[in-house]
Amino acid sequence: MLPIIFVLPILQLVILSNAATFEIKNIKFSYVDHDKTSFSRALIEKFDASTYFNVIANFPSKKEANVAMAKGKVDVILEIPRYFERDLLKQKNTGISVAINAIDGAAAGVENVYINQIVQNFNKKAIVALSSPADMANAPKDIVTIPSFWYNKTLNYKTFMVPGILVLLVTMITLFLSGMNIVREKEIGTLEQMNVTPIKKYQFIIGKLFPFWILGFVLLTVGLTIAKVVFNVPIIGSLGLIYFYTAFYLLVVLGMGLFISNFTDTQQQAMFISWFFVVIFILMSGLFTPIESMPMWAQYVTEFNPVKYFVQVTRMVMLKGADFNDILPQLTKTVIYAVIMNGLAVWNYKKTN
């Protein structure tokens, strides 16, 4: 069991951190060029040069392109109209049509942004090339925005995904193990034997949960080491602060595990209920979808999600270098949560029925 507890989360951290990316690469790009001029070729070359697009087909007509899209062979069709170059030169205005496979809506949105960027960039250069120097003088100066991504300069998704996934793994393992632990004693009958002994309720509960508290720290340590060594995630803030927060966070998870085992009689039941909560916690933690874009009621629900606070705290401390005062709101809520959860669980746990 012990190797499983450690090896599986490490594998998950390494695999998921590489796989859970929002970048979209290798977009299957095709085009229908009705113009066939140096201008239209230049536009297509722009796409070819991009690392995101693989230009895989050149269709003679839109109809054939549509068939290929239906079969899933291409993701994007760019249609360049006839007289593309001429209209651009004369009227300084023309249109191109883009068709994007939107079966995966999120991916389609990202692809649209990429295409727009390339077309706009091309457009700017085209205007310069086509305008006379006299026009240039009168042309308004372009306003250029230079984005600056704070705390994650290169927009490396691993930098923000690794701490999040690490948090999930620590939560999942400790919740599952603690939830099933006391239920297991019910199943094999040792709980009954323990209940006739003079052992105190709190002694028994601490004895059952303390090992998992320690285990949570060990998992966190292993995970942080991998984050630093394998993914080179910056750890700007204090590690001590992360551990300090985790100490309280784990109490919430363990209390929840104990609570679940109070209400279940078999390990299957405990597993099922643990999964129910874990899935909700993961999807509502703000790790994969920003909480701000959830409907209002869902945002209120996330207030009861301890994983959300842990994700926030690890990201804040690791990436922003947040200090104690910065994480105080999250810490306070977590401590309250821990007190309520454990209070309920201990109050509910009975040696006699």
Partner: protein, 300 residues
């Protein structure tokens, strides 16, 4: 009184597991609860070991009330549930040390009490409890239940699923423990074990049928029982049930146990009846009444 139960009732949803049960066990007595599966034996044990609250009635164990002084009871009783329930992934020695520690004692302190039993499993003390044989597990469980020198020992069907040799050994161990002044309440579905108790309570459907010395219980049996044997036992059973004077007929080992309604029953008459019904190798003998016969009679 070491154990005193007064009008205890307990029901689960629609089932009356224990129905108005009262009995008393004297100090140092070996008391047996004898009854078939589902008679309510385990429920009585769970109430007396403070694992379950009774719906009605009161009970005391070692002078402590099972509801008000449950904490005291837990210090003074040893409980061995019907199902093996020690930590299977701890070794024999670890289990024993663990339970000794929980009761705030050490193995050395009460070694005298468990010595007889423990020496038999000592060669395996580094083996995990889950890997022990059935008889060994039971000896370990008994050692763990005794490690804190309890005043009262509760054994819930300790010999179910145990081989005959181990069963015999186990009862000898109980007798020795009794001599050390420990009150023992034991339940069993085996009628032959009942004779080994000081007193027994016959129990069925949550009700006590009779409480007495096993010898007395047998003595009070109203009529004489006959062992009857023939070539075809099944046909014999049917024929006896059809016989107009028959009172009770039930299979018992290789024989059929038969009692008659009449006081002046003549076995010769029955022999003729059976012969007339084409039975061969007929054998009719008077037999000694056992507790099982009494139970069958009471449970009728």
């Amino acid at each position: 009184m070491s154990i005193s139960v007064k009008n205890i009732s307990k029901s689960f949803k629609t089932v009356n597991a224990v129905d108005d049960v009262s009995f008393e066990v004297k100090e140092g007595e070996l008391f047996g609860l004898i009854g078939p599966d589902g008679a309510g034996k385990t429920t009585i044990f769970r109430i007396l070991t403070t694992l379950l609250f009774a719906d009605k009635g009161t009970a005391t164990v070692a002078g402590f009330d099972v509801v008000d002084d449950f904490k005291e009871i837990r210090n003074h009783v040893g409980y061995m549930p019907g199902k093996f329930s020690l930590y299977q992934d701890l070794t024999v020695e670890e289990n024993l040390t663990f339970f000794a520690t929980i009761f705030g004692t050490t193995i050395e302190e009460n070694y005298e009490l468990i010595k007889d039993i423990y020496v038999q499993i000592e060669p395996f003390k580094n083996r995990r409890a889950g890997a022990l044989s059935g008889g060994m597990k039971q000896k370990l469980a008994l050692s763990c239940a005794l490690i804190h020198k309890p005043k009262v020992l509760f054994l819930d069907e300790p010999t179910t699923g145990v081989d005959p040799v181990s069963r015999k050994e186990f009862w000898e161990m109980l007798k020795r423990l009794q001599q050390k002044g420990i009150t023992i309440l034991v339940s069993t579905p085996y009628m032959d074990e009942a004779a080994l108790c000081d007193r027994i309570a016959l129990i069925q459907h949550g009700k006590i049928l009779q409480i007495d010395d096993p010898k007395e219980i047998v003595k009070h049996f109203p009529t004489t029982i006959y062992d009857i044997k023939a070539a075809n036992i099944y046909k014999l059973l049917l024929a006896l049930k059809e016989y107009k004077h028959s009172y009770s007929v039930y299979p018992f080992g290789e024989f059929v146990h038969y009692t008659d309604k009449r006081e002046d029953f003549n076995p010769q008459e029955l022999q003729q009846y059976l012969e007339a019904n084409n039975h061969q190798n007929i054998k009719i003998e008077i037999t000694k009444t056992t507790i099982e016969d009494t139970f069958m009679e009471l449970a009728k």
